[in-house]
Symmetry: C2
Subunit: 152 residues, 2 copies
DNA sequence: TAAGATTGATACATCAATCTTT
DNA sequence: AAAGATTGATGTATCAATCTTA
């Protein structure tokens, strides 16, 4: 499957993708920090834990869910633990493993921050697209994510 | 314009956007480092300088073009200068200003790296979308980038 | 020997001063 | 006083060991 060099038009779409991501995430991160003293990375961890069964995930599972490196996650969880948002728990079946568990304080922080954050997502991103375009975008992104292309 | 909380479907598109960005840029960055010892951030600087008139830009212009912070850029240009890819030049009209100029070595590095990188973009991103979808994606991203939403 | 997680060294980003020129 | 850029302090990410258990 020889994929050649893309045309200028295709590259322009790729660049727009990069720029849109940078602008929107920068704005959302700044908003979260200002209003709730919560970096977007923390918010992302809180979301993934809140959706996991029992509000907890193995460190490695969380690392891949959250799009951060294994070693980066150790420190990130350190910080969040010292703020009381998560707690580490040993794993019963496998003494090597650790869980990160959402604390009530962490869940509360997520609940406080989520409404404004989601309104921000709507204002800056989804709200700019009519339903039809949004569905098309979803389909396109699904193609990018599907098959091949595993996590490194 | 009261933008409310987005539906679950809309949020799913937003998350797919985040995940697609993370996966594709991670893979492209790793490829560039392996094959040309060139981080994606450096590549981005090289591209912007190569497209600027005279192959040079004021630091502040480059900073906003390249989606990095002003202060982050100073150090980034330090590193790239010590590798010989760019050179600083004082600004004639305004003694406060500095230009970053692409050197021949920087231009050569970009020329070497670009073909494989662009093939990677096509393989991981644009090549997964038929023309019609790609154009739709481009239009959607344009809407996200247009109006409002300036750089912070 | 490999998997899960942490640690140490290092690179990079970010924010608030700072310094110079306008 | 404000703009352009750099510096210093600090926070965060990344990579290669390391340690423990499977």
């Amino acid at each position: 499957m020889a994929s050649g060099t893309p045309s200028a038009e295709r590259i322009a779409v790729w660049r727009a993708f990069l720029e849109a991501h940078a602008r929107v995430t920068d704005a959302l991160d700044a908003d979260l920090r200002e209003s709730h003293d919560l970096p977007l990375t923390w918010y992302d961890v809180l979301v993934h834990l809140s959706e996991a069964p029992g509000g907890r995930l193995r460190m490695a599972e969380l690392a891949s869910a959250v799009l951060f490196s294994r070693s980066g996650l150790t420190r990130l969880i350190d910080r969040m633990e010292s703020r009381g948002y998560v707690r580490r728990e040993p794993c019963a079946d496998d003494a090597r493993g650790m869980f990160a568990r959402l604390t009530p304080a962490g869940r509360a922080a997520l609940r406080r921050a989520a409404p404004a954050h989601l309104r921000g997502v709507e204002r800056l991103f989804t709200g700019r697209l009519p339903d039809r375009e949004l569905r098309a975008l979803g389909a396109a992104l699904k193609r990018v994510l599907d098959d091949g292309l595993g996590r490194r």
